[in-house]
Amino acid sequence: MLTIENLHASVEGKKILDGLSLSVGRGEVHAIMGPNGSGKSTLANVLAGRPGYEVTAGRVTYEGVDLLALPAEARARAGVFLGFQYPVEIPGVNNVYLLKAALNAARRERGLPEVDAFEFLTLVREKMKLMRMEDSFLSRGVNEGFSGGEKKRNEILQMLVLEPRLAILDETDSGLDIDALKVVASGINSLRSPERACVLVTHYQRLLEYVVPDFVHVLVRGRIARSGDKSLALELERRGYDWVTGAAA
């Protein structure tokens, strides 16, 4: 589904990704771990097409298409979803309005009719229940006055409604208490299917207890230093990143 080959990228002239290669197949969940500054979030943002992230070499193929040639909105419509580490507030723009516009943009792309307000509300309410969100959320502005935990749950809610083929979740677990973490994890798990794939960018092993990955990769200085299965995450937790960074140095 997704093939990243020898990816080099920099931000404000500073080199962050340094020859990263990764292959993600359908139905797979990959966890990307690594110390601060290793390039985890840069990878997520480069894949989603955030302006300011300059790709200097390498290629990324998604479903046979050159992903890097597409603007951000086209990537999203093609089924790539970025769960933001720091979701931004957009005052006055209704949460549900943005989500409906997003869903219809993706449906238009696929040649499907737009959903009407009634169908949409039924769908959102169903997913909100899963994410244990209150009805009042429907009338609020996008992330306006949300707590950190609410923002993250909102990201997962959007993902559940949009049903992306490839979800890239950037530190969705950070700042969540244990109950919220479980809710978020069950949301992610509910979308697991042989048709979809997920890349979890995370700092800690904690989330991976609830969303069990098929592969775990450790990113060090902009490239993958070590790959393995879920046991790698546990070993990292026990021995710390020094264990890998030392080996990679």
Binding site: G52, L68, P71, E73, V88, I90, G92
Partner: protein, 486 residues
Amino acid sequence: MSEPVNETNRELQSLISRGYQHGFVTEIDSDTVAPGLDEDVVRLISRKKGEPAFLTEWRLKALRHWFTMREPHWAHLKIAPIDYQGISYYSAPKTKKDGPKSLADVDPKLLATYEKLGVPLHERARLAGVAVDAVFDSVSVATTFKERLQAAGVVFCPFSEAVRTHPELIEQYLGSVVPYTDNYFATLNSAVFSDGSFVYVPKGVRCPMELSTYFRINAMNTGQFERTLIIAAEGSHVSYLEGCSAPQRDENQLHAAVVELVALDDAYIKYSTVQNWYPGDAQGVGGIFNFVTKRGECRGRNSHISWTQVETGSAITWKYPSCVLRGAGSIGEFYSVATVNNYQQADTGTKMIHIGRDTRSTIVSKGISAGHGQNTYRGLVKILPSAHGARNFTQCDSLLMGAQCGAHTFPYVEVKNPSATVEHEASTSKISDEQLFYCRARGIGEEDAVNMIVSGFCKSVFKELPMEFAVEAQNLLAVSLEGAVG
């Protein structure tokens, strides 16, 4: 990686080149007075309209006063010199001798013009439930729904007609809120005003529909000087909307209107404006000078006047819809969205003059600046010694798009009564790259994302507009900000 020329950018290009939508000129025979201004011209206008002597005299007093005045330059505006003797002060489409009796008599070309503008004069009006008075250059061409309004006792007609049918009301109220000595442009208007709308809602009547006037400047080298007067008698209720547009021309055209509102005891007037005069081209050539005096007086107890304006057009906007809160317990409101793009300039805001006890006012101003646009909020909250317990809340927000534009805020507060409460909140923000990217990462294109964010910014003003016009205002805003980001 160099930024690929994507679909959105291409769309953007075509949208930008589309430009102003209402810039067409209607080929029609006009009866236009030669440029220039003196007492003879004023007498001519008055005679053409068959006005009573008191009105001719009033105009002449205004003209004489105007000759003693100087053009004001205190606003934060750069104004090219205006040659007041080079303007024609009267232009009317040539009609059959006695003028149109009904819509069927109106020149089809005129009707087609309004059709193009999306003003529903015919069946569409009936469906929309809006009574429309259309002013073309200087003359009112059609007023719809007369019968239904008459049944309710509401008078809604061209000003020039009201002068003939209700001279006593005109004599009593004209100039009672904006005197002919008020300011340079209002005084000029008092001397040469041509037409406009007149509304009288009798005691206890709730006007059965929205009233609307559509103004259009067509002829070249003419100014448009409408005069609108709305009187809401005791306990009555009326909602009124004006819309405006003008053809695309290289020279600036002057629009100096005066609007007076009078609300008696327990009356309510809601006045909404969606202003889309031609703003000039991308280099700042041409466009309308929109120098307007709008003032409402809450004359009666517990009366209520609410101004809502969405200003997207004009090369220069200079207007301060204001409320004189004389009646005890009266309420004044001002909700404004002002947008400037390219080289447009706006200096707009309001004055809330608290005279009566327990009077309240609310000001919500949203300024959006893009391109090289300069946007100024200027507001005065004045609490007189008599205004015991008066309260004001002001919120002033500015949104900047790009690095060349400007936003300026001049709030003046004068409090002469210690029991008054005055609150002021202000903010300046930018559409952040973060917000744009967030929308794009959800599949929403850049242009749509900008519109969404701007609409969110303006939400507290848009919700004050009558439903059908809120949508129009939102679309207009989208058009006027095309190409502002990207």
